[in-house]
């Protein structure tokens, strides 16, 4: 642990193309990219199945949850080999990992809207689209963001595997550290990953608080 701290605080590790700021930026970049792609797929899909039949919803959710059990590293290597080494392809396993929490929470977020509320919205003369954007989505926001937060933290932690195929990120320190028996570097890298995950979690919590409609904030109840 001490060796890790020494490594982190060593100014030498904060410079150059291999320095902490660059690796951190790479890591954050991957995470953001993965998260955006996962949102672009998982969110509409979750909203869609929330309005589709029960059967379709269960099929999709079970598939998504099943995908969570795939070994990320194995998948990564496989896709890397199949895709002749494209960077972007390497992020596919991470996307697959990030989709289930987003999808399931979007689905749950919409499903938990009280039937009377949805009914009233239609009864007032809202179109299907207006019901979705003016009523269902705002009410589902806290759960959707919770899903995104879970996904983000998972991706931050798992993006370390990108290092296995030389894509950098904080995982590189951990791998190099282990391979070269520089345990300070390995521990330091791990600590950075944890710190990043905690920050992401904190940022999401703050953001969720800010965008949750006031009427839905539990402390007012």
């Amino acid at each position: 642990m001490n060796a890790g701290w020494e490594w982190i605080t060593d100014p030498a590790n904060w410079h150059g193309s291999d320095g902490i700021p660059v690796r951190l930026a790479e890591h954050v970049g991957y995470t953001l990219l993965v998260l955006l792609v996962a949102l672009a797929i998982g969110l509409p899909l979750g909203l869609f199945i929330a309005h589709a039949g029960q059967r379709a919803a269960f099929a999709v959710i079970n598939t998504a949850n099943g995908a969570r059990a795939l070994p990320t590293l194995g998948l990564l290597v496989l896709i890397f080999l199949l895709s002749t080494g494209s960077d972007v392809a390497a992020l596919i396993p991470l996307v697959i990992l990030a989709i289930p929490p987003i999808l399931v929470n979007a689905y749950e977020g919409i499903r938990q809207v009280e039937p009377q509320v949805r009914d009233a919205a239609r009864g007032m003369g809202m179109t299907g689209r207006q019901v979705l954007f003016r009523v269902e989505l705002p009410i589902a926001v806290p759960l959707i963001l919770l899903g995104a937060r879970t996904a983000a933290v998972q991706v931050v932690a798992t993006a370390t595997v990108a290092a296995y195929i030389n894509l950098g990120g904080l995982g590189g320190y951990i791998m190099d550290g282990i391979l070269l028996r520089e345990y300070g570097e390995a521990v330091g890298g791990s600590v950075l990953v944890v710190l990043l995950a905690v920050s992401v979690q904190g940022l999401f919590t703050l953001f969720t608080h800010l965008v949750t409609p006031r009427g839905l904030r539990k402390e007012h109840a």
């Binding site: 509320v117 009233a120 007032m124 003369g125 009427g215």
Partner: protein, 278 residues
């Protein structure tokens, strides 16, 4: 006028909720649908604003078949108070009330203005406008539901057990104000309840629904109490004992109000209060 001609609703599972209904509801009057649970009151009500589509038959408002109008547009012109409010939890009271005006394209300021002026009319303190639904009592929520249905000043109002979730004292107050409001507004109101006292109190006309979705008797409260159909209707009114009680309270209700709100303008209305001396 709202008319039902040979209207039947059979749900996908085969349940016949409404069976060959013929009914005419007069403009500017309160028509009450009353009857035991599951006899098709809500279904009948919701066919008026196309929340439920009839399996056969025609429902027309002022001669226009409701199915000829796009559902969303039709609904914006019909006030709808659903049981238990169904208020939007993420919107303030004011924004809840402003819903339909906003859907109709009013600008935000005007819609809020309208909502603000409606609150006192349904007996709500203006300060409640900034609150969220969960910060209101049950009775206040019901009032917001009524204000929301009234916001765009629709000529027709559908109310599905709007006062059922509150205690009897609050309910009596809500009914009182509801009648006062109707005296000013002269809406065509369809009011569902399974409380016969409420039906007698509020209705210009009462349709007593029986199981299987048909109307056992359609009459003014006075006629209903004076000559209930033997069998189901009489039973539903509580038999001879129940009827005596109902008649007694109906007289009591009628006496102090020389002219029942709205009845003067309603053609053909034979409301309780119209002939207090009878």
């Amino acid at each position: 006028m709202i008319s039902f001609k040979g209207v039947t609703k059979r749900y996908a599972d085969g349940t016949v909720a409404v069976d060959g209904l013929d009914l005419e509801l007069a403009t500017g009057e309160i028509t009450v649908f009353v009857g035991p649970s599951g006899c098709g009151k809500t279904t009948t009500l919701r066919m008026i604003n196309r929340m439920v589509e009839p399996t056969s038959g025609v429902i027309a408002i002022d001669g226009v078949d409701v199915t000829t109008r796009p559902a969303a547009e039709l609904r914006r012109g019909i006030g709808y108070v659903i049981q238990q409010g169904g208020l939007f939890p993420h919107r303030t009271v004011l924004d809840n009330v402003a819903t339909v005006p906003l859907l109709l394209g009013w600008d935000k300021k005007k819609a809020r203005e309208r909502a603000r002026e409606l609150l006192p009319r349904v007996g709500l303190d203006a300060a409640l406008g900034a609150r969220y639904p969960h910060q209101l009592s049950g009775g206040q929520q019901q009032r917001v539901g009524v204000a929301r249905a009234l916001a765009a000043d629709p000529p027709v109002l559908l109310m599905d057990e709007p006062f059922s979730a509150v205690d009897p004292v609050v309910r009596a107050g809500l009914q009182e104000e509801f009648l006062r409001l109707q005296a000013e507004l002269h809406k065509t109101i369809v009011f569902v309840t399974h409380d016969i006292d409420e039906a007698v109190r509020l209705g210009h006309r009462i349709a007593v629904f029986a199981k299987g979705g048909h109307v056992a008797q359609y009459a003014t409260p006075r006629e209903l109490l004076a000559a209930p159909e033997p069998g189901f209707v009489t039973e539903f009114l509580g038999g001879e004992r129940g009827l005596r009680k109902l008649r007694f309270f109906a007289e009591l209700d009628a006496t102090p109000e020389a002219a029942r709100p709205g009845s003067g303008e309603a053609p053909g209305a034979t409301a309780l209060g119209e002939a207090p001396d009878a």
